[in-house]
Symmetry: C3
Subunit: 340 residues, 3 copies
Amino acid sequence: MEFSLGQIAAILGGKVEGDENLKVYRLDKIQEGAPGGISFLANEKYSSFLYETKSTAVIINESFELTKAHQTNLIRVKDAYASFTQLLEAYDQLRKSEISGVEDPSYADPSSAIGDNCYRGAFSYIGKNCKIGTQVKIHPHAYIGNNVTIGDQTIIEAGAKIASDCVIGKNCHVHHGAVVGSDGFGFAPLPDGSYKAIPQIGNVVLEDNVSIGANTTVDCATMGSTVIKEGAKIDNQVQIAHNVVIGKNTVIASQAGVSGSTKLGENCVVAGKAGIIGHLDLADRTTIGANTGVTKSVKKPGTTIFGYMGMEMKDFLKSYSLFKKLGSMESRLKELEKKP
Amino acid sequence: MEFSLGQIAAILGGKVEGDENLKVYRLDKIQEGAPGGISFLANEKYSSFLYETKSTAVIINESFELTKAHQTNLIRVKDAYASFTQLLEAYDQLRKSEISGVEDPSYADPSSAIGDNCYRGAFSYIGKNCKIGTQVKIHPHAYIGNNVTIGDQTIIEAGAKIASDCVIGKNCHVHHGAVVGSDGFGFAPLPDGSYKAIPQIGNVVLEDNVSIGANTTVDCATMGSTVIKEGAKIDNQVQIAHNVVIGKNTVIASQAGVSGSTKLGENCVVAGKAGIIGHLDLADRTTIGANTGVTKSVKKPGTTIFGYMGMEMKDFLKSYSLFKKLGSMESRLKELEKKP
Amino acid sequence: MEFSLGQIAAILGGKVEGDENLKVYRLDKIQEGAPGGISFLANEKYSSFLYETKSTAVIINESFELTKAHQTNLIRVKDAYASFTQLLEAYDQLRKSEISGVEDPSYADPSSAIGDNCYRGAFSYIGKNCKIGTQVKIHPHAYIGNNVTIGDQTIIEAGAKIASDCVIGKNCHVHHGAVVGSDGFGFAPLPDGSYKAIPQIGNVVLEDNVSIGANTTVDCATMGSTVIKEGAKIDNQVQIAHNVVIGKNTVIASQAGVSGSTKLGENCVVAGKAGIIGHLDLADRTTIGANTGVTKSVKKPGTTIFGYMGMEMKDFLKSYSLFKKLGSMESRLKELEKKP
């Protein structure tokens, strides 16, 4: 992007104090501002940065009273935070909409139908019998297997892989290197101690507005579907095993893992590195703490689970505070044992 | 696939009750059946689904007695479970054998020898002096470095990477985005506090029938080989460090990690998120619980290790059950201290 | 490589005992030596292998006295260990410098400037307005977005992804499948229980001499930069969240994770699978044990933190040793309670 301060003031309904012809092409934090960038000041706590920033311009509340000299240009608006958010989203939208068309070489089997205004980066691959919606962005090195459906406006980032038969909704965002539809980990033991792979012939369904993080893996179902429901947001390097169901608007942070056939309810929150064993049911609005191991189903909605082998949070924290004091408990035991 | 019910009955040695000209092209779970799919019913527990399913057909035991009306077609066989498994494997085999030939553009250095009936997807890469066996499937975006050997019928999924000098056996399956042969993490500290990379010039050897999960990483040895022995099965997002040896038929679940130079015996089972520190030896048939940290070698075959800093399982579970009761132990201590 | 023993002796200033015309093309461990390889013997503990090795040649100290017959050829040098290290680095250098030029097809937008003597593998992608230094190696399937800067002699391995706007220093090494610059995980909750993505418009800065492991993910900042400072070494499958700062020469082992906005000082060491929550500050030279969860800032340089919810190491180990004895503490409590 490249806008003059005058143009930005016009968009925001604000007023420039300084040179309205200066141009900016970047959004900065005020404390890290540099020439060519525009920042904002909404929180009084950061006021001192206004007088030091090297940003070309700062968006500021109409009501803000200057107390010192400054070297930047101001854009005065009613609500600096709201204005900056407006600018941020416009900028993000602009960046995303910039890309379109087909870069060469890319690969798409002629049996696949691809909607209008899609982007297909160089080295992107689309297999047979796929249905790709409109305005879908398939970045370089993205892999789409056979019989895949992708809804409108979904973004498949560079090097993400969607295996055959998967169904991806609208407005989904699958980040770099993520794998959707890898084989579930299922092996039958044979009498000689070796294992035989159990065919994994199901798929993965991502409903609308789902986000899958970078290098996350979502296994296909043995049969049927592994399902990530509408609006669920999954961070980087998360593992979702076969036949799992993740509820609507549930959020899972980085490096967490969910084992086979477990079902999470709606609006759950799973913190980083948590692990959930297989074949459990977790009620709506369950919260799982960081690094927690969940070994039992959770029936009561709104429960918070915590700890190495997950317990209710308050119980765990009490036990852990005493774990820290085990040395003194041991000494107290010894004292008591000395008594006649 | 697309088969008529008559054709399937012929394959299974069964008998159609219904329209033998109807076609199915998918295997379904009976409780999730939809038109165009075929399901099975073996477990009496699921009998009620027979009368509701929307599957086009259901495979059912000869002996099964109907108690209500149904809207599906039946294929009667001696053993519904065995017949369905037979169909499942035939289906899986069919899907895999469907692909062959070379998609364009793909890259293979002319110095590499590639066996008959291989599949090379678009954008697959094969470096110099490789030896690729027969019926090997190298999917789109797969990367094979220089001097790599790959045995017959091995599958390298989309975006998997086999670094230079690695040796891959027969019938191996390297899943999407896996990295085999990345540099070991070895750095020598220098006097100024910085680190210098120690050259990692070894390789990785996968013996026959090894499975490597999606986005798993297996580092090459500093010198010599990191070895995954015959029949070992490794899940997604597992980290295997340099110079590790994984024994025959050992199974490692998702997000586990094995540090440098550790050796696991045969038929071990490592559950999800377990971590094993470096330079240990684990006896045959060692079982490591989920989330367990293993800090010592295990000498006795068949041992089960569990817990944050791994202990024998029964000891850990006893201590953990008391950890949960630390609050009451503390109260009891207080009571005793009150006594005169 | 392929060198005669005579050539190697000349490089090392040593003397051949055996056939100086024999050729070697591999470096081996002495205990795993095979024809065509050269090994070394520096540690007396390994002397017995000298008489059994199948290596074509062994580098050995001038002063070493043979006590039995052997079947290999010797190269006598002043310091066998130093000589072998010299050979190892020469070998590594040779392997890396062998590659150069542009393989076809590769993609680079004409607006990008690419320095001299770069390698660009087949299917590598370089977006718009990038500045690539000299002797940079961009391996097959590597993805470089728009407006990316990469310093001289940096190596981007196969399938690594550098998102738009990132800045990569000199002599960096980004390993296979790593993602630098994926979106930070930031979502604003809406009144209906769904989430809206907060635009992540910042970037990642890797300073000089940084190493990023295979399939590691480093998220871009929400605004500003996620920074990995000079000389930091990061292993495989590590997660670095948005706006994190990793200090100079800090080392992070596999499967560790650092949450948003946390800052690590210089020369810290983070062991495998450790997790650090967001918005913390860790002093210089902090050491974090394997599997540790860090929940508080560390103010004192040189502190070692350990345990499920990180404590100072000695405190944790004391408590954990008593945790193992909770069964006996419980019994002792019972005994005391029996007293009148």
